[in-house]
């Protein structure tokens, strides 16, 4: 029983992200409405962002901004230990990923608007039926 709780405590974050990711994947595959597919894509991206940020976490560490960073920097003013600060790399990667997610959302919505103007619907099966008729 104790082992099980240990596993759950150590790994539950991944399970949450995988659940979120699969909700997004399911929405992208199954949903008929194009906007719902786009929402699914966004949920998927959010899950990946959460996953990356969580890999940067360290127990007992603080945010990756050096303390006493102001003023006299240089030789031996303050020793910096890597264990005191969380991993900055995932934060950097996800910082850009968030903005790119917004950009892809914008392009996806623009495409959806064009599709709506052309076919007067956002339901995938109705669009496909209209394409087959031609």
């Amino acid at each position: 029983m104790g082992d099980l709780i240990q596993i759950v405590v150590a790994k539950y974050n991944y399970w949450i992200y995988i659940t979120l990711m699969m909700i997004g994947l399911y929405a992208m595959i199954v949903k008929n409405n194009l906007v719902k597919k786009i929402v699914g894509m966004n949920i998927f991206q959010t899950a990946i962002i959460l996953f990356y940020v969580s890999t940067g976490a360290k127990r007992g560490a603080t945010i990756p901004i050096l303390e006493h960073g102001h003023g006299e920097h240089g030789a031996g003013a303050h020793m910096i230990h890597a264990v005191d600060y969380i991993n900055p790399l995932p934060h950097v990667l996800m910082l850009t990923a968030i903005v790119v997610a917004v950009a892809t959302l914008g392009v996806a919505l623009a495409l959806a608007i064009r599709v709506y103007n052309r076919y007067d619907t956002l339901e995938e099966d109705e669009i496909l039926a209209q394409i087959r008729e031609k």
Binding site: Y12, Y14, Y26, I65, G106
Partner: protein
Amino acid sequence: MKIIGLIIALSTGVLLISATGDFPGWADPASPASTHLSPHFIEKTMEETSVPNIVTAVLADYRGYDTMYETAVIFTAGLACFILLRIFVREEPEDRLYRHVLTGVTVRVKEGAKLPPSDDFERIDATWTPPDLIIKTICRFLIPFIQLFALYVIAHGHHSPGGGFQGGVILGASIILLAISQDLRTSVRRMREKLDAVLCAVGVIIYAGTGALCLLLGLNFLDYSALASVLHCDPVTARSHGILIVEIGVGIAVMCTMIWIYNNVSSTGKYDEGL
């Protein structure tokens, strides 16, 4: 289709969850992600770039190429929205409506007729509704402070959480707030479409130009220590200043892309009253 999708999602989920057995535990200091490259960033950033915020230093200096192309990607996204949606030639309605701002009188102008040249009139659509007074006033008060905060976030990115991407998004949000609280024409009058598009490209050019300047000064592309001779400071401080220049470029590009995407998507490329 639903069942197939459910099977795919469930089987992928089970596969991934079974793979988490090999993953490091939550917040494990000895996890592979935290033991190879990141200790170098954490311990050497201060002496190599003199920037206390490691995220900013890694973003704009160690991974400068990545961020430059990321900026190019969002510029391309803005351009794609513009090309997909923008409508220049469209059938004008026969009668155009103009509203006199001071008195609230609406004038209907027949086709071919012209309005007396005056700045007091604003173009409105037939579906125009007056913006709510409370929302309008609150937004007027808030927007300057939002923009001031955005400038702080960009300028103070070296010492606190922040930087070009975050500050740029806040700046863009302040203009979008104006468009939501009043209408799109008001915000476009403040931030013209041409200016927006040109600034969007200027942001990317500032970034790439800083890199090219380093190249011209005899060091590698985006190696900001080359700027030391231009800025009259030591190479480590020059890296810090180079990061700031690049962050300003990113901020401009992100701000304008957000506004550009919003304007095009919310008015489906017509640039009328929007939402």
